[in-house]
Amino acid sequence: MKEAVSTGGAPSAEPDLQELMRRVALGDQEAFASVYDRTMGPVLGTVRAVLRDHAQSEEVAQEIMVELWRTAARYRADRGTAINWILTLAHRRAVDRVRSAEAAAARDRKAALLDRTPAYDTVTEQVEARLEREQVRRCMRTLTEIQRQAVTLAYYRGLTYREVAEVLTLPLGTVKTRMRDGLIRLRDCLGVTA
């Protein structure tokens, strides 16, 4: 099912994302526009899942895109697909932002960190995004409750594993292993290869 994700770098007639990134690193603005078109949706979605705030998410997603342009030469195709690299960057930036003072204060008020429902319900008309969502949702159901909560609170809420341990009142070691076990189960269910 991995080929259902056009951004995943499956062979096709169009230049793949890896090739586009190589061109972006050489200053090709047209290639960058194509990278933007293929990745801004998941980048914005990832950021919004973590930050919740719509306007702030748009702003951060734009900053990530500009950073992508600036640091494209850092991408190394031999270390993984371009979409992984981009979404890893996006998630880290979102997490950095949510853990900054300003966002933390807002988070205190909303205490949204305990809302464990990820934003799967967001409307998108892209078919492959919908397939991807269905697949992840299906695989999420194969996790134990604690594995699912640990992975979800960290990825979709930006909590550190220490915060996750506190919120779920579980020992740190348990949270660490559940996070790993949960991701391993997801990896196998989704058929992810690195």
Binding site: A61, W69, R74, H91, E132, I146, A154, Y155, E163
Partner: protein, 251 residues
């Protein structure tokens, strides 16, 4: 942190759930551990799928703005890019945790001492404990997640810090403490709601844990503050000693 500890962090690393210091230690470990590198790559790729799954359709205006902005941004050369070993972290982050998050982190760090013992318990016990913990966590969570949750923190003396989170709509309060000295032998810490000078019991703290999160028992209504006293094990009907700490409840 030893090597075995580091190895179990592949999952937490993949979902960005490490502090800056831990992340740095983990990345150093990775450079010398091929199996970890493989697993980390796979789990990071897996977490990217979680991102793909929440894809949204961005507003068209955002595209024009980004494409305009990049025309004025100089790109890193491949040489500069090679020198940057990993994406820079926001340095401010570690200093800027909210007071609540900080209390939670301190509490969690202090609780770490109990893990080794806990892990040796029989699996069934662990499961029961996890279920119980999850139930408690849900009740605590309900207070923390309430739209009207308010928190107040105070130094409790002897380096201890307390944070009380109150939800008036839930009519419940949660007390988070870290750095508590252990109570004297045969004694326990008891929590109280302060109703205009009259103390109403709000339950006992767990003995032997310097850091913990307690759902205070009883209603918040009528209380303007909270207190902690040292009582005989099992607790008392009314305080039998002067409070070790008094805190106002956030309005």
């Amino acid at each position: 942190m030893n090597t075995a500890d580091l190895h179990t962090l592949t999952g937490a690393y993949a979902v960005d759930a490490l502090s800056d210091t831990e992340r740095a230690a983990f990345e150093r470990h990775l450079s010398g551990c091929a199996p970890c590198t493989q697993e980390t790559a796979e789990l990071t790729a897996t977490s990217a799928r979680l991102g793909l799954a929440v894809s949204v359709t961005p507003r068209a205006e955002l595209r024009d703005e980004v494409l305009r902005r990049i025309t004025t941004v100089r790109q890193e050369t491949p040489r500069e890019a090679g020198a940057a070993t990993s994406a820079p972290r926001a340095t401010a982050r570690r200093m800027l945790l909210s007071r609540w998050a900080l209390a939670a982190c301190v509490a969690a760090a202090a609780a770490f001492g109990g893990v080794a013992v806990w892990q040796h318990e029989r699996a069934e016990d662990a499961l029961d404990q996890a279920r119980q913990a999850a139930q408690d966590a849900d009740r605590v969570a309900a207070v923390l997640a309430a739209p009207d949750a308010r928190s107040g923190s105070a130094k409790l003396g002897d380096g201890a810090t307390g944070t009380v989170v109150v939800s008036r709509s839930q009519d419940k309060a949660v007390f988070v403490v870290s750095g508590m000295a252990p109570p004297p032998q045969g004694k326990t810490y008891q929590l109280w709601f302060d109703e205009g000078g009259t103390m109403r019991s709000a339950g006992l703290m767990e003995p032997g844990r310097s850091a913990q999160t307690v759902l205070m028992s009883g209603t918040v209504a009528g209380a303007s503050g909270m207190g902690i006293t040292v009582e005989p094990a099992g607790g008392s009907e009314q305080p039998t000693s002067p409070p070790v700490a008094l805190m106002p409840l956030p309005a």
